[in-house]
């Protein structure tokens, strides 16, 4: 009869409240707002396009090769001369990321020679089965206006697509500090050429917001 005890746990949990914490104000509430995120936060990936609409991905598989979690699967193919998908001979024919494996380390972004893959700051997405966790090229590719696709199961808010790419690399070009502040980024659909990320000693509004949250949390902990 041991299983009854198991059921009892389930039954008890049904009537306990949900432990998931909503953002301040609750979902759909008046003040429903996400907490500010650092500029370099690693979220769901996008595949970028050039300003002429060509895909940046050339199917070189460097991202898949460097991925420590082995979550990327890429196959290249020859660009059809009449309808090329990307500049050059090769394009990414299959591109899949398995988000059950991805650890958002951003190594793929660093490895990418064409800035094709970058990460948004979106981490509010979930799935109820394993195959849904595999994002295909159709889902990862940016829209015709260069913005990430807002898929039904993802929680996008206004303005959140701003930081899909731009200066997302952890290091400066060629690893040289002197390159800080220079644009090392080709033009892209929907954004043109982005401004470089601010130097590390410059405070941005987001830095201030994050610090404010941190101070609030510290105060709350002191009280508690």
């Amino acid at each position: 009869m041991g299983y009854l005890r198991g059921f009892a746990v389930t039954a008890k949990k049904i009537f306990e409240g949900v432990t998931t914490k909503q953002y301040e104000g609750g979902k759909g509430g008046k003040t429903d707002q996400k907490a500010p995120k650092p500029e370099r936060l690693h979220g769901r990936h996008v595949l970028n396009k050039y300003e002429d609409g060509m895909e940046k991905c050339i199917g070189c598989e460097l991202c898949a090769g460097v991925c420590p979690a082995n979550c990327i699967y890429v196959r290249g193919a020859e660009n059809p001369p009449s309808d090329p998908k990307s500049p050059g001979e090769r394009f990414g024919y299959v591109y899949e990321i398995n988000y059950l494996r991805c650890i958002h380390c951003d190594m793929c972004v660093e490895a990418c020679p064409t800035e094709a893959i970058t990460e948004t700051k979106l981490f509010e997405f979930s799935f109820s089965n394993r195959s849904d966790a595999i994002y295909t090229k159709d889902e990862l590719l940016v829209d015709d206006d260069g913005r990430p696709q807002q898929l039904p199961w993802e929680d996008w808010r206004d303005g959140e697509d701003q930081h899909t790419s731009g200066w997302m690399r952890a290091t400066a070009p060629s690893g040289k500090a002197s390159a800080q502040g220079t644009v090392a980024w080709s033009g892209e659909l929907g954004y043109g050429v982005r401004a470089p990320e601010a130097a590390q000693n410059v405070r941005t509004p987001i830095d201030a917001a994050i610090e404010a949250v941190a101070v609030d949390t510290a105060k709350a902990e002191e009280k508690g």
Partner: protein, 833 residues
């Protein structure tokens, strides 16, 4: 050690490498001497299997030969005594920096797109020896991105660094000088001649040796990246040379085959068929499930293994004399042994033949003393070729032989049915007409002093007319130098009797002559060795003297060969016919006979991996795993064992060949005695003396593989050769084979399927003129049938003979072959009868 031993005299050339005193071999190139001593000098153009040219200047090192230090290309410099070499000096490094910076001045940096990226010598050397930064800001040179130089190879001239490797390979190694440098200065490029594509049988090698991504092979373009390839060493099974290869796979699919530098066999070269026919396994029309014919509808339907096995088991429970099996040359040795044990040991039939009447008699091949390829190619020797153009049938062997004849001074005597791609280099070449090879052999042997009790029967005067050649050949075969006789079936329209006669005469001339059977089908030598030939049991032992303790039984009658089997089957004397990976409708010379045979047999059982027109007519089809899907062993034409390794999983329910007879035996209530491949290997080592010392686990992993010691306890009696057919006004037919044909492996490989040319009848230009043939075609009469066949003028064809390749699209040349000892056809100008 108590007393100091006298030091061994140092033989060789003493030199100093980076301050260490070393000894090089006499005449050794500096780059090789450094390699041997563990000092790597970067290089692009140097390839150890080709002559050095010093094109790329990457291997510059600082050398002091007593006249002061100077930069010299180490690939062009034989080591001389007391030479002092610096490979890491400032001057050397500066030279390396300079060479790489200049090479990269025009080399595009599209490495992420380029297929070579990740395994590129230019990339590696730039990282290891390059300056790291370039000073060039100018626009790089541009060419049209890849241009197809053949059906299989694309050339990206922007990436080319002009190392001369591909062009040297094409002209020096393959003998197909179809690509060359054109233009001058910064516009220098490799290209083909106008309207002459690089249609070489060896074009894939240029892709393998290209040190950048300039040459890419169509089947591999953009398929995978080098770092996600898994690799395993194996052996090419499309012909009997047994070239060593490495199979590379990605995502459980073989995507590339590369040649391995095996000193004894293929020297890293492969023919395009060996290199690209892997496509047939992945993309061919595979049989994935056992199929059984539905009695009512007559259609093949998928079923389970045990249903199919039961049906086969029932068909095998008839009189052994009424069961026959054809084929088996495609399988690994293990499958061949298991089938031989089931058919000969359990079922008890001797009607088993792996050759489809297109090779040489099994007893002849099994009884000849074998030469290795290195024996044949040893400088100073003599090679006699009887039969076909090796370039068409065994291309990799052709490359080795070509090198031996062209570079190493091996003397070549040709007794082939048509001139070959080596004829220009042959010391003696005979114009042999069908049926006369035995007479030529007799004349040569008599002249060389053989004690023969018969004379040359030369009614047509053909031998007499070439008396000076006979004398020249006889002088070469006087026994003072080693002789290798490469013997194949050069003419399918001629009885193999004539070839065996010639072999017999050379046997009688000198017992020390060694032979190499140039049978082309994959593992045919393994099949013969495993007893898939009437009258024999495994180990090349005759049926009567078989001593096989682990076998329940041996056949108690002498079996029929393939031709007799099909005749018997057509007459209803066979109940069960097994086709072991054979496609006789395509490969057997008399298609009509095969159709009648298949119709009159009660149960046709086909074991194959790929669906063919023959398997479509079978009653039971058992799916077999193919090349790259199973472990096993290959026996090449030298008798050398080399491993076949699995890299990908077989499709669906396909099984390794050896498992299928093992399972059928259980249905018959017998155990074959092995349930794993290791047990099968132990049984082979136990039962067959020639396999006793084989170390199966490390087979070929550290060397080129062991050569089986074939000690035959029996001798073939050779008598008087059959007389040559009399002279005739008609043309004697020479039916040859081409590398690209309608065969299963070529047709099921998408990249190769379109390569076969249309069948045409080839005539000597003199004959064309003499008979006044005009236009593109001629009318050919055989018996009471006439055919209009395209005509090609071909100097390789001997006068008074007509050559036509079989198994090509357009015209089925098999319809011209009568099955008599030779075939004569009447050829008329087109439009007349």
């Amino acid at each position: 050690m108590t007393t100091a031993e006298p030091t061994e005299a140092v033989t060789g050339v003493p030199f100093t490498l980076n301050g260490t005193e070393l000894v090089a071999e006499e005449g050794e190139l500096l780059i090789d001497a450094c390699d041997r001593n563990g000092v790597h000098i970067p290089r692009f153009c140097y390839h150890n299997r080709m002559k050095p040219v010093g094109m790329c200047r990457m291997c510059l090192v600082e050398v002091d030969t007593g006249r002061g230090k100077a930069l010299q290309p180490s690939c062009m410099l034989p080591v001389t005594p007391e030479m002092k070499v610096e490979t890491e000096s400032e001057a050397t490094k500066k030279a390396q920096d300079g060479v790489l910076e200049l090479l990269l001045a025009n080399h595009p940096l599209d490495c992420p797109v380029c297929d070579k990226g990740g395994e590129c010598p230019l990339q590696d050397n730039a990282y290891a020896f390059g300056p790291g930064e370039t000073r060039f800001v100018e626009e790089k040179r541009h060419f049209k991105k890849p241009i197809p130089i053949s059906d299989l190879v694309k050339l990206d001239r922007e990436r080319c660094i002009l190392c001369d490797r591909c062009t040297r390979f094409a002209s020096d190694v393959a003998g197909d000088p179809l690509i060359h440098f054109i233009d001058r200065g910064s516009q220098t490029q490799v290209n083909t001649f106008p309207d002459h594509p690089f249609s070489s049988y060896f074009s894939g090698n240029t892709v393998q040796i290209c040190p950048v991504g300039a040459l890419t092979a169509e089947p591999y373009r953009f398929k995978a990246r080098p770092w996600d390839l898994e690799a395993v060493e194996s052996t090419a099974t499309v012909d009997s040379t047994g070239a060593r290869v490495v199979l590379q796979s990605s995502q459980n699919e073989i995507v590339r085959v590369l040649g391995v530098d095996s000193d004894a066999v293929n020297w890293s070269w492969l023919s395009d068929k060996e290199r690209f026919s892997y496509e047939a396994t992945a993309k061919g029309d595979r049989i994935e499930q056992p199929l059984v014919k539905n009695e009512e509808t007559g259609m093949l339907e998928a079923t389970r293994w045990n249903n199919a096995a039961k049906k086969v088991g029932a068909a095998l429970r008839v009189e052994p004399d009424r069961i026959a099996a054809v084929g088996g040359a495609r399988m690994p040795l293990e499958g061949q042994y298991a089938w031989a044990k089931l058919l000969k040991g359990v079922v008890g039939t001797d009607h088993v033949d792996a050759q489809l009447d297109d090779g040489l008699p099994g007893p002849l091949v099994l009884g000849l003393p074998r030469a290795t390829i290195n024996d044949a190619c040893k400088p100073g020797g003599v090679v006699v070729t009887i039969g076909a153009d090796l370039k068409e049938e065994l291309p990799t062997l052709f490359l080795r032989l070509r090198h031996a004849v062209v570079e190493d001074g091996v003397k070549l005597i040709e007794l082939t049915s048509t001139a070959t791609h080596l004829s220009d280099f042959a010391t003696v070449r005979f114009d042999v007409t069908p049926g006369s090879v035995g007479q030529f052999a007799t004349a040569i042997a008599k002249q060389a002093g053989a004690d023969l009790d018969f004379d040359v029967a030369d009614e047509s005067g053909l031998v007499e007319a070439q008396a000076d050649k006979v004398a020249a050949a006889a002088a070469l075969l006087d026994g003072s130098v080693p002789v290798t006789i490469i013997v194949g079936r050069g003419n399918l329209a001629e009885s193999p009797r004539f070839t065996s006669d010639a072999v017999g005469i050379f046997r009688r001339l000198n017992d020390d002559f060694q032979f190499m059977p140039a049978l082309r089908r994959g593992n045919i030598n393994g099949a013969l060795e495993m007893g898939l030939v009437p009258g024999f049991t495994p180990g090349g032992v005759q049926r009567e003297s078989a001593q096989l303790d682990t076998w329940p039984d041996v056949p108690d009658f002498d079996g029929m060969d393939t031709k007799e089997i099909f005749r018997a089957a057509a007459e209803g004397r066979i109940d069960t016919l097994l086709l072991l990976a054979a496609n006789p409708l395509q490969d057997f010379l008399d298609e009509d006979l095969v159709r009648r045979a298949l119709a009159n047999v009660k149960t046709v059982i086909a074991v194959d991996g790929i669906s063919t027109e023959t398997t479509d007519l079978a009653d039971v089809v058992l799916p077999a795993a193919l090349f790259g899907e199973v472990d096993g062993t290959f026996v090449n034409l030298e008798g050398r064992l080399s491993p076949l390794r699995a890299k990908v999983t077989p499709p669906s329910q396909a099984r390794p060949d050896w498992m299928i007879p093992a399972e059928l035996a259980i249905v018959l209530g017998v155990e074959l005695g092995f349930t794993t491949i290791d047990e099968l290997h132990s049984e082979l080592s136990e039962v067959l003396p020639s396999f006793a010392d084989i170390d199966w686990d490390t087979l070929g992993s550290s060397d080129d593989g062991p050569v089986l010691k074939l000690n035959r306890s029996w001798n073939i009696e050779f008598g008087k050769p059959a007389a040559a057919p009399p002279a005739t006004s008609a043309f004697r037919l020479v039916a040859t084979r081409k590398l690209w044909d309608q065969g299963t492996m070529v047709q099921e490989s998408p990249s190769l399927a379109s390569l076969p040319s249309e069948a045409a009848i080839h005539l000597n230009p003199d004959d064309i003129e003499r008979h006044g043939f005009v236009g593109d075609s001629v009318t050919v009469r055989i018996g009471d049938q006439t055919h209009t066949i395209p005509l090609t003028s071909d100097v390789r064809v001997n006068p008074t003979t007509a050559s036509i390749p079989v198994c090509l699209p357009g015209f089925d040349a098999r319809t011209l072959i009568t099955g008599r000892s030779t075939t004569a056809v009447e050829i008329r100008p087109n439009g007349t009868t």
